[in-house]
Every structure is written in C-alpha cells, then in structure tokens.
C-alpha cells in the first residue's frame, strides 16, 4: 500500500509536470480573418445620375472605343475597394421614383450593343466612364439650355413629369438590353461625386418648378396608364399641398368636425379647371354651405395645378374629400 501511494503521487506529479510544460508551449489558435467586403451606399441621386448616364449610351460606346487606345493616360489611382467590388448589382427596379431629365431624342435612344463593355471594369475604364459621364452631363445641360430657349409656352412641371414617365418606360426597355454596360456605368457613377446640376429632386417636384423648359412629349392620353403606389401618392400630394393651406376651416361652427365636403373637379390637360367644381354631397345647413364655399374657393385659388400631363387620364376627373376631423 505505501508503494501504491508513492506510485500514485509520482504519476500525478509527472502528469502535472508534463502539463505545466507542454500547455504553455502550444501554438496559439488563430482565427482566420474574414475577407473584407466592400459596401457602397447608393443614394437615390446616384441612381439618378446613373440613368443620366444611360441616356446617351450610344455616345458612351463611341467614346469608350476611341479612348481605348490610351490606357496609360486614363490610369489613375482609384480607391481600391471599388476595384475589388463584389459582383455587379442586380438590375434596376422597373419603376424608380426619381424624376429624370430627357432631351428631345428620348424615343430615339436605341439599346447599345451589349458586347461593348467588359463585365469587370478595370481602373482605366472606370476613369473613362467617369469622365464620359461628366461629359454627358455637360452636354445634357447644353442641350437643355438650347431647348429652353426654343420652347416657352408649356408649363415646367409638365415637361419634367413627362420626361419622368417616358424615362421610366425607356428604363424598362433598356434594362433588359444592356445589363453588362449598366454594371460598368453604375460603378463609374458611384465614383463620380460631382453633384447633380440642374436635375430637380424628386420629393420637391410638387413644390418647385423645374428649370427645364423642354418640349412637350406624349399625347394627352399618355402612353403610361400604370401607376405605382408612390406615383399615385405624389399626384395626390400635389393637389393636397395646394388646396389644404388655402382651405379656411371654421372651427366653431355647429358640428364643424363632422362637416365633410366632397367636390368633383374636372381638369384641362394643362391643370386648369375645365368647369366649375361641383359639390357632390350638398346639404341644407348654412354651416355646410359655408364650409363648401370655403373649400370651393381653395380649389379655385389653386389653379393651374402642376399635375403631370402624361398622366392626364388619371387625374382629369378628381373627387376631393375635405374632412377637417384631424384638426379638432
């Protein structure tokens, strides 16, 4: 038994000693560092610029071919994350909300040849495209200015919205046709940090007139009958933002919070009223008459309405429901 105890102690000590020696000398476990993923935040305005780039794709192609001969010049130190960018982003959604500008030759822009651009851009191509985009924008502005001088009659909003609609339609056509080139341009557009000159921002469209006075495009019926929810909301907001502030509500009248006035308005394509607006739900009380007249005054004070002419079919017959319940 004593021998057993001694053996036990010796073996224990041996194991402990071995552990004390070997464990600290082990290699440290290292976790492999993950590959950094480049992330780029694309704002709506960059998408706008993107589409501007697409507009004159034909020219882009020509310039790309022409300047291929001088890669050395175009080489520039570009931020490498873009070069190491992940695979090209998915194709654009069919109904982008931002408005676009268009020159006269909207209908004439053909789908560019697909084989022109390489799938993965090289640094010199990025620089090329960036400069081409800049060039395009300058040209676009010059074109716009020339057209402004030529056309003076039509309202600014109409053209802008018309362009937007036609642009949307064109976008759909071109999205399928030129995926590859699209990718390259997108990356170039991301690199291009020059601010947009002269293109009005979408959210302020109902409040500011566009600077462009391009030609009127499209027939009164408009080609585009499909409206997304956001476009519908924009149309309604155009009407609401003008009529609301002009509608004097009388707070103290009897049942003032329950006085709902419905007005039917018929419009001309240029936003003027085609007829005297009609009260859809006439009532006999003097309070209702006063509220209805106040609403009518607001509706009449707002003409001409800056509504998009190419969607005329949508808004030519409108029923406004004026309900002051939220004000009480």
């Amino acid at each position: 038994m004593r021998g057993g105890l001694a053996t036990s102690v010796v073996l224990h000590a041996a194991i402990l000693g071995w552990a004390l020696i070997t464990i600290p000398s082990q290699r440290e476990l290292r976790v492999a560092e993950p590959e950094p993923i480049a992330v780029d935040i694309v704002s709506a305005s960059e998408l706008t610029k993107l589409r501007q780039g697409v507009r004159t794709a034909k020219q882009l192609e020509a310039e790309a071919k022409a300047t291929k001969a001088e890669p050395a010049k175009k080489e520039a130190p570009k931020p490498t994350p873009a070069a190491a960018a992940p695979p090209p982003p998915p194709p654009p959604e069919p109904d982008p909300p931002a408005p676009k500008e268009e020159p006269k030759q909207v209908a004439a822009v053909p789908p560019p040849p697909p084989a022109a651009a390489p799938p993965v851009p090289s640094p010199e191509d990025q620089k090329k495209f960036e400069e081409m985009l800049k060039e395009q924008q300058r040209q676009a502005e010059e074109q716009k200015k020339a057209e402004e001088q030529r056309q003076a009659e039509l309202k600014k909003k109409q053209e802008e919205a018309k362009k937007r609609a036609a642009e949307l339609k064109k976008k759909r056509k071109e999205a399928e046709a030129k995926k590859k080139q699209f990718d390259a341009e997108k990356i170039a557009a991301l690199l291009n940090k020059t601010p947009d000159k002269g293109s009005p921002a979408a959210p302020s469209a109902p409040h500011e007139p566009t600077k462009a006075k391009g030609p009127v495009l499209g027939a009164p019926e408009g080609r585009d009958r499909q409206l997304s929810a956001s476009e519908l909301a924009v149309l309604k907001q155009i009407i609401r933002s003008c009529v609301g502030p002009k509608w004097n509500v009388f707070g103290g009248g009897e049942e003032a919070q329950n006085t709902i006035v419905k007005i039917r308005v018929l419009f001309h394509p240029d936003g003027r009223l085609a007829a005297t607006p009609q009260i859809v739900n006439p009532q006999n009380s003097p309070f209702f008459l006063a509220a209805a007249e106040s609403a009518l005054r607001a509706v009449q004070a707002c003409e001409p309405y800056p509504l998009p002419p190419d969607k005329y079919n949508v808004w030519k017959d409108t029923v406004l429901t004026l309900n002051p319940r939220d004000m009480f």
Partner: protein, 471 residues
C-alpha cells in the same frame, strides 16, 4: 460491409419499405410546403396607401383626401363705401371692417393695397384686381341719409374667385343709429361666409364700477358690443347686480338692494320704467328669462337653503322647482325652454345639474374636480358654458349638454360670469385683475378658445349680459 449487404435484402420489405414510405410522405409534404411558400413569394405585395377602388385612369375618378386645412382668417376686402358724405360712408365701412376683424374669422385687407376704385355699386368689379391682392371676398357698399333724415346703407358681397354675388341688401335705421348700419352689414357678410348667424348688431348690459376697491360705485350700464355708445341706466345710489336681457322685448331684469333686501326688478330700456318683480321674504338673486319671455327663473334663499323658483311674468304666480335643502342657484333655460341647468351643492360640492322646466328629472351634469357655477346654455343649444374654480385658479369652460366634452376656454385670476352672444359662437365674461388698483374688465372669447380680447369699458366693468339681435 458484407454484413450490411447481407442485411439489406432482409430489410427490403420492412424497414426500408416503411422508411421509404415515410420518406416519400415527407418529400411530398416538403414539396407542397415549398410550392405554397414560393407561391406566396410570387404574389405581388399588397399596395399600401389608398383604399381599393376603381383604379384611376381605368374608369373611376381620382380620390384625394384632404384632412388639414387652415384656421387662418379669410382675407376680405372692404373698400370705402360710396355716398354723398364720404366721411359718413367711410365710417360705416370702417365699422364693417372692424366687426369682421374682431370676430377673429376675417382679415380685412389694407385699403392702401387696393387696385380698383369702386365707383358704381351696380357695376361688376374687376375681379382680377382683387385676386391679385389675395382677397377671397369683396364688400362694396353705399351709405347715406334719406330725405326724411333716416339713414340708409346697402351693400354687395362678391366672391372673388367665381365672380358671383353672394349677398346684397339694404338697411334703414333711425337718425341716431349710424353705427347700426355698419353692424347690420357686417352681420350679413359674416353670416353668408361662415354659416353662423351674426352677432354685431347687439348690445351688452353690464355693471359699471368706479371708485376705490373697497367702496365701489356700481351702476347699471349698457353699450354696443364693440364698446361704443355707453349709457348709464342707474345712478349708483343703490347696489345693483346681475342684469339679464329679455329675449323678446327691450327689457332687462336685475337685482337691486333696497335697504338690506335684494329685490328683482324689470326695466324697460326704451322708456326707462322700472317694475318690481316681487317682494320675497328672503334673498333673491340671478333672475333669467325664459326663451319666450313669459317667465323668469331665479333662486330664493330661506333658512340656510336656496331653491329655484319660477315665476310667470303676467300672472305673477310662482312655482318652486327644487326642494333639496341644499343651495340650488344660478338657473338658466335651454333655448327651447324645455330644460333648466343650474348649480347645486347637494352632493357635497358645487356641481352642475339639469332638470326639465317643470322641475322633474333632476340629474347631475358635471363630473370633474373643482367647483362649478354660473352655468349658461348656448343659444345654439349645443353647449353649456360655466365658471369653474379649481385650486386657486378660475376657468371659463364649455361642456356638451350631456356633460361630456368638457373643455377649458380660458384660465386666469377670477374669471367669472360667462354670457353667450346670440349666435352661440362668442362668449363674454369678466376678469378681475389683481392688486389694489386692479378691477374687473370685460373680455370676449370665441368658443374654440381663440381670439380672446378685452372689451373696452369707460371704467371697470363686470356681470356682462348679451342682448339678442336687435333686428
């Protein structure tokens, strides 16, 4: 391995077969689930926003909801009236503009900005000129003297946007009632554009207070609702309180202390004649007329309690309406004469109660904290105004006739005694200012709580009562 292969044929019929069936069932379930899942994913996302209906452009009109308007006053243009006496005509137009502005619902535009000069009342105005200065309505008029000495005014109210004439009328008043011309025109314009009946051709009877705070001289006084044409109805030798207008005749009822006893009197405003309503063996205060002008309701105190008593003015017969042994006072008829609202402390604290005009169906109306008093029923019938004392502050508030919707209009030091304008839209009350040199002043406020203004009085004033429309 050999074992397995050897084992496999043994199990073909049993375990693999059952397992295969199970596996197939599971696969089928999985397939169905994925099919459903992908079907869900493939469905178009429901559109947020507008309610479903005929899509615009496809057979139905575009529906737009507008739920936010503006509470700003209506811009209106009131150019100088035409007339042979331009000074007189201009004053009438100024009264119209001032009345409309005081209501808080209109904004008369500065005459310096007007482009067109009105020369002919029967001509169509150049609406473009008025549209440019953002006028929504236009009042043109003429005022002058008739050969018999009476005063005449006529006006036209135009809608600037549609070019329609909304109203036109002509008024004639007595020789000395020049200001009434302006009030009558203002009433018509106000009514046509707001739907509310006007209230400018009315008077206020109140207690004019002069002298030091501890020894006030209180006299009965009357004036136009805009503070002009003040005239005193009593001399101040005796204490007078709580004057009230009759709804039908040019009469007021008020309380006057004869010696130590307060009594109720009726005074005819045109003749100045006074008449004692009754000699009651007890305190009497706060008499009010019924809407048909035939009865008076007041409170009579005896032996520590106060009860509400109704009296017929012709027969002088009295009828006791409450007998709770508490203090019931401040009664006021509803505009249809069928109900009476009053204050009572029968539940321990001062609260508002309502009962039928014969005294039946007495039930409590108010439910909040504080002490409620001086209830007045709106001539429109939809609201009851009252004074409420809570903590140290006094509030003027309104509530609906079932006691709900209680709302405070104004808060201040010693607000008291609301009275309604005849259109049930504007209230007047009095408020005491603090300090040794302070005193009560009259204020008006819209029932929405906006547009509180001080009403000018020659000295201090309290206990206002609003007359019905004079026309």
């Amino acid at each position: 391995m050999t074992n397995e292969r050897a084992a496999a044929p043994h199990n073909t019929t049993s375990a693999p077969g059952a397992a295969g069936r199970i596996a197939r069932a599971l696969l089928v379930i999985l397939a169905i689930a994925t099919a459903l899942g992908s079907a869900d994913a493939q469905q178009p996302q429901p559109r947020p926003g507008p309610a479903p209906g005929p899509r615009p452009g496809q057979g139905g009109p575009l529906e737009v909801d507008i739920t936010q308007g503006t509470l700003k006053p209506i811009p209106i243009a009131v150019p100088e009236f035409l007339g042979e006496d331009p000074q007189f005509a201009r004053e009438v137009a100024d009264i119209v503009a001032a009345d409309l502005e005081r209501s808080g619902l209109f904004e008369p535009l500065d005459r310096a900005s007007f482009i067109e000069r009105t020369r002919d009342l029967n001509a169509q105005p150049r609406f473009q000129d008025w549209r440019v200065i953002n006028a929504q309505a236009l009042v043109v008029g003429r005022a002058g003297r008739a050969p018999d000495g009476r005063l005449i005014a006529e006006f036209r109210l135009w809608d600037v946007f549609t070019g329609r004439q909304l109203a036109s009328q002509r008024f004639t008043v007595g020789q000395r009632e020049q200001r009434r011309l302006g009030h009558l025109v203002a009433d018509q314009v106000y009514q046509r554009l707001t739907g509310e009946k006007g209230y400018f051709d009315t008077q206020i009877v109140f207690i004019d207070e002069t002298g030091p705070k501890d020894h006030r001289n209180k006299r009965l006084a009357m004036m136009d609702q805009d503070g002009f044409n003040v005239r005193l109805l009593s001399q101040g030798r005796e204490l007078v309180l709580t004057p009230r207008f009759s709804p039908t005749a040019q009469e007021i009822a008020f309380m006057r202390y004869t010696g130590d006893q307060p009594r109720v009197f009726l005074m005819n405003l045109e003749t100045g004649q006074r008449e004692l309503v009754g000699d009651f063996p007890g305190m009497t205060f706060a008499p009010r007329f019924s809407p048909d002008g035939q009865r008076i309701v007041m409170s009579i105190g005896e032996a520590g309690a106060t009860a509400i008593v109704e009296m017929d003015l012709r027969s002088r017969q009295t009828r006791r309406l409450t007998q709770t042994g508490a203090i019931d006072t401040g009664p006021c008829y509803s505009p249809d004469g069928r109900n009476i609202v009053f204050e009572s402390d029968r539940d321990g604290s001062q609260q508002l109660y309502v009962m039928a005009a014969d005294g039946s169906g007495q039930r409590r109306l108010s439910s909040g904290e504080g002490r409620y008093s001086t209830p007045v029923w709106s001539p429109r019938g939809d609201l009851i105004a009252f004074t409420k004392q809570m903590g140290g502050s006094f509030l003027i508030g309104v509530m609906r006739t079932d006691g709900s919707g209680e709302r405070v209009l104004t808060e201040g030091y010693h607000n008291e005694g609301p009275t309604w304008a005849p259109n049930g839209r504007v209230l007047m009350f009095f408020r005491e200012s603090r300090g040794g040199g302070g005193g009560p002043k009259l204020f008006s406020i819209d029932l929405t709580g906006y547009n509180e203004r001080q009403v000018p009085t020659p000295a201090f004033g309290s206990d206002p009562a609003w007359s019905p429309l004079r026309n």
